[in-house]
Amino acid sequence: MSSDGNRSDAGGWCCPPMDLMRSEPMQLVQVIIPVESSRVAVSYLGDLGLLQFKDLNKDKTPFQRTYANQIKRCGEMARRLRFFKDQMAKAGISSSTLPDVVETPSDFDDLEVKLGELEAELTEINANNEKLQITYNELLEYILVLRKAGEFFFTAQNSAVTHQKIEEHRTADGSIETPLLAQDMLNDSKQINLGFVSGLVPKGKSIAFERILFRATRGNMFLKQSSIEDLVTNPVSGEKVAKNVFVVFYSGERAKAKILKICEVFGANLYPFTEDLEKQKKMSEEISGKIKELKITIDLGLARRDKLLKNISYQFEQWNNLARKEKAVYHTLNMFSYDVTKKCLVAEGWSPIFASAQIKNVLLKAKVDSNSQIGSIFQVLTTKESPPTYFQTNKFTTAFQDIVDAYGVAKYQEANPGVYTIITFPFLFAVMFGDWGHGICLLIATLYFVLKENKLSTQKLGDITEMIFGGRYVILMMALSSIYTGFIYNEFFSVPFEIFGKSAYACADVSCSDATTQGLVKVRPTYPFGVDPEWHGSRTELPFLNSLKMKLSILLGVAQMNLGIMMSYFNGSFFKNSLNIWYQFVPQMIFLNSLFGYLSLLIIMKWCTGSKADLYHIMIYMFLSPTDDLDENQLFNGQKSLQLVLLSLALISVPWMLFPKPLLLKKQHEERHQGQAYAMLQTTDSNTIQIEQDQTFNDHEEFEFSEIFVHQLIHTIEFVLGAVSNTASYLRLWALSLAHSELSSVFYEKVLILAWGYNNYAILAIGFIVFLCATIGVLLVMETLSAFLHALRLHWVEFQNKFYEGDGYKFAPFSFVSIPNEED
């Protein structure tokens, strides 16, 4: 809210500056660039990547903008490059960069011309190749027709000859059964009426073909078909189809016309055929020769195209980058406002203050490189707008900052929870995951990604692998923390070890007679590091560990929440907001610590003294009947009076959080208003300027008391109720830790040990494989994700709602690195 007390842009000095704690100070800059050096200047600024331009032409459509034409040209170039890419993919050539191709990136116009030429050449080659291919396929079909039809005629002729011989032996007259052909061959005069066409028809349509021919010619036709075993390439479409060779005999011109039309409809290709054997042979030879020639020509054509594509492929990446860069440059230039009279472009943008020198250098370089007479002007503007948030992160801290940003980008210069998240997030994960065997597995897995990061960062990885690769340092920290907490919980795939010395517990006497009834006795000092190994597998393991882990969760939770409230103090002191410090930070600290800080103290005291006091009872009756005697629940002297004091502190801190701040804000606002009312009477120059400033200030800030009060009420209720609910929420640390150790122990005992008990190698092998799969699937993948999620929630909600506003916007500079590759 903008009326939160005084807000000055320069931060207060409560603490020395720390990297990453607050976002970089930003300034609104205005750059005036002469037109002739504008393209080069923007290109260099894109390389620098530290300036976020504001769109000064928001109300113009894309077509009204200055450089719409250039963008169209860039689009055309991009289309050509996509075409090349398709062609290369079809030909199976991948774009590689030949190391010794030194051709420097050419000018924009040169590139455009070159791409146009290459496209024309490529399309021409493709068209020619296609034509040749069609002819080639037709010739192949023709050869088939010649062969098969030749067989018909040959067999028909033979059978005609044999029939004739039989007929001659039988009768002297002609009979109906004499084949037509034989008569044709003998009787020349009848040859005029009979004709035939030969060709190829797709096998699937052959039956319909025959039927329709029969019907169309009223049965006055003779069709002979024979199928071809291999698939034939259809000349026009280029796909392989099963076809039949057919010969159809007809008589008369009308029948011929009908048959030709039907052939066209069915997509049957017709080829001329002669009955003469000699001519057939000659045709076959001719066509075979033609086929060979065509094949050579086609191969040459393809080789030429491949060479062209290979030449393109060497420079494809370069050209692609150049085209994308130019398009981005022109889009950016479109955002500038064009001053026609002075022939220059005016650009406004946000940039970090530390980058001023670099930007000025870049502009100077652009002036020199573009041979411009005039240099660019760089000036800083003052504004009341909220600047974008910019954190300078390296490869390690980027992932953690992304985790914080996923919930909300920090407001300009507010305290960044990311600083502490780097350590506390893996730590809370590890509290829920604690097993040093599993931690080592995670470590090995993530070390692979970390050690090979140079190679993997250039490759294109799948979605999930990309996510894991991006978070490799987070997972590395998580693994290291898990190993530590694994040693503390003393679990190695749920098996405890006595690494740090002897266990503290032993049998009460030598015979160990009541080990199963009364239990062991503490004979040595406490196990020095972690949970005593004797606990594992005992009957009282769960009651002990549950109590330990619940109290651990509460203590860690109270610590983290206190850190969160401290961060709000840092914010208050940085923004010089004393209202927030005195009427929010202080009562919040008092409330949380007088209740849950006191609980933490009780927990520690109970552990240190070994008292049997019931902490639930103490806390509940502190509220219900604070004046009653404590009896056996007394942990230290003066506990009753301390509890009364803490209770009253907690009770007064609630109205302390609620009432003063809105009332004081109202008073501050009235003071400003009063000043303005008095200034109206005086008319000296300095005061009129004062009035203008106040008016502009007040124009932005309307003061609604009810709104402010309700906001504060919500904040107070959220904090008070949240104190209880957030503290309880930390118990998830206990819950997930219990789940993890129980699952781990079940897999170990009920799978591995069970398999071991059979004394059979096969069963042992199967058992081991089941154990491995269960461990990897359930514990290493599912539990990791689960603990990750819950640790994330604890940070986002319980830690950050104590201080984080997170309503800023991220700094998105114009940078060539961040341009997405649209083709992918």
Partner: protein, 70 residues
């Protein structure tokens, strides 16, 4: 080993880690402060966890009761 001795060891480890980090990556005052903060946070987290588990076992109210057949 005792509570205070081990706490002292944690403190020493923290100091050594801070010095080590300062020696190996000395990059300007604000970055150094960040590194120092991270080391301090890590040591405090580790110490808290150890201390809590140690204190819980100092004067136990329940003892391990073994299962039959152990």
């Amino acid at each position: 080993m005792g509570f205070f001795v081990t706490s002292l060891i944690f403190l020493l480890v923290g100091v050594i880690a801070a010095i080590f980090v300062r020696l190996c990556c000395n990059r300007g005052p604000s970055t150094n402060l960040l590194h120092l903060t991270l080391v301090i946070t890590a040591i405090i987290c580790c110490w808290m966890m150890w201390a809590i588990v140690y204190l819980a076992q100092l004067k136990p109210l329940i003892v391990p009761i073994l299962n039959e057949g152990d």
